[in-house]
Chain length 218, copies 2
DNA sequence: CGTCTTTAGATCGGTTATGCGCTAATCGAG
DNA sequence: CTCGATTAGCGCATAACCGATCTAAAGACG
């Protein structure tokens, strides 16, 4: 940190930045995953002060990057590490948080279901289509996150890496259907995804029907 | 404003929000327009302290919405009103601003060339492809803004309303070419835009060639 | 006043994309 | 072991799309 190393910055009124009121800045993250039964779900944590559920979040610490604040909050509250959160939107309504003037930078993070380590007492997984109204703007955050994830999954095979490699095109399609929340045409999907896949040459055995080829993402 | 009306919020350490350091929050806006000669251009204003050029911005005032801060800064520095700014990204590198810990929320705003009232001494219009390196993250802000505007113009006719209605499809295509920065196929463009247009039944006269029908956006 | 140039808008033929169906390949049950 | 169920992957017919061409309608010019 090298704030005010030499001259302190003063504006046209001769005041420094510290003379102006500043908002608290929080990060709130919709952590999305797809469950083994093919449901797009979001991580909710128990909200302290007014009892209820919310998406995990924290206040930004001095000198901290937003993405690092997201990682810190998720490591603490949901035992998740190694994420690459993406910014979605800044919620800025002055009255949105009754604790004071708080801006919230909404984020999206994705995690494999198998890597989730949720403490059942303080966190749970909720089906995206069953989330009720949450406090603050947390319902809106989830909507932003789902829209962003769906946009990413529309044209590329599993961009978030939710599926362990190698996988069959059927497994990939089941995942994309869970994300999209709707049935996807078999051939159209195959043709759209093939350019982004590399065949391993291996076949999946032990399933019913003709063995499917195994692929990796390019 | 109703901060700390009754009970002051305290966290698990018994501290209030005010006990934690908070960042300054700024808004910076890439104001884009298309000049009469068909060039996509951005508004730059003179930077005070370290002399140079930057995109207009300001610090967020207490209780103010981000969009209102954008409007305030643009009304002051470029005489522009009636905008609907869109959030792009939060720039959060702790060292990005040597005046202190400053987060910047980048915005995009669009304005008709005829409505611009730039004070030549402090503001100028710069061709998007001729913008050099700017201080802070302002080059990145412009890149975000151009990408966002191009995405919006890819599928809908003049979503930002840069063209006065009614207009011909040729005028619309010239505008879209300026935004996209590349030549657009005549028939493909016409077919892509027609669903978003309504014919007025009027024809444009006084030009060479077969008179073109005049359209409005739906 | 007639011809040339310019531009709009419709039409047409070829290409690409889409969805259905067929066949191959495997598992499981009788 | 055989037959039926299931699933992968390819082929084919159709539909949608795209770009070039053609015609119409106006101004420019001699």
């Amino acid at each position: 940190m090298r704030y005010s190393l030499g001259v302190v910055y003063r504006d046209s009124s001769g005041r420094t930045l510290a003379d102006y009121p500043r908002p608290s800045v929080a990060v709130d993250t919709a952590v999305l995953t797809v469950t083994p039964d093919g449901v797009l779900a979001v991580v909710l944590v128990r909200s302290g002060d007014p009892a209820g559920w919310r998406v995990p979040g924290t206040f930004l610490h001095p000198g901290e990057r937003l993405a690092d604040a997201v990682r810190r909050s998720l490591a603490q509250k949901a035992g998740i590490t190694g994420l690459e959160p993406a910014q979605l939107h800044v919620f800025d309504a002055p009255e949105r948080d009754d604790r004071g003037w708080v801006l919230s930078v909404a984020h999206l993070a994705t995690v494999r279901y198998e890597e989730l380590r949720l403490d059942a007492g303080i966190a749970r997984l909720e089906d995206i289509s069953a989330v009720g109204e949450l406090r603050y703007d947390h319902s809106a955050i989830i909507e932003f996150a789902v829209a962003e994830l769906r946009a990413r999954y529309a044209s590329a095979p599993d961009p978030a890496g939710l599926l362990p490699e190698p996988f069959t095109i059927l497994e990939l399609r089941r995942l994309h259907e869970a994300v999209a929340g709707e049935w996807l045409q078999r051939d159209t999907f195959r043709r759209a995804m093939l350019p982004g896949l590399v065949a391993t040459g291996e076949l999946q055995r032990g399933q019913r029907g003709k063995p499917a080829e195994l692929f990796r993402r390019t």
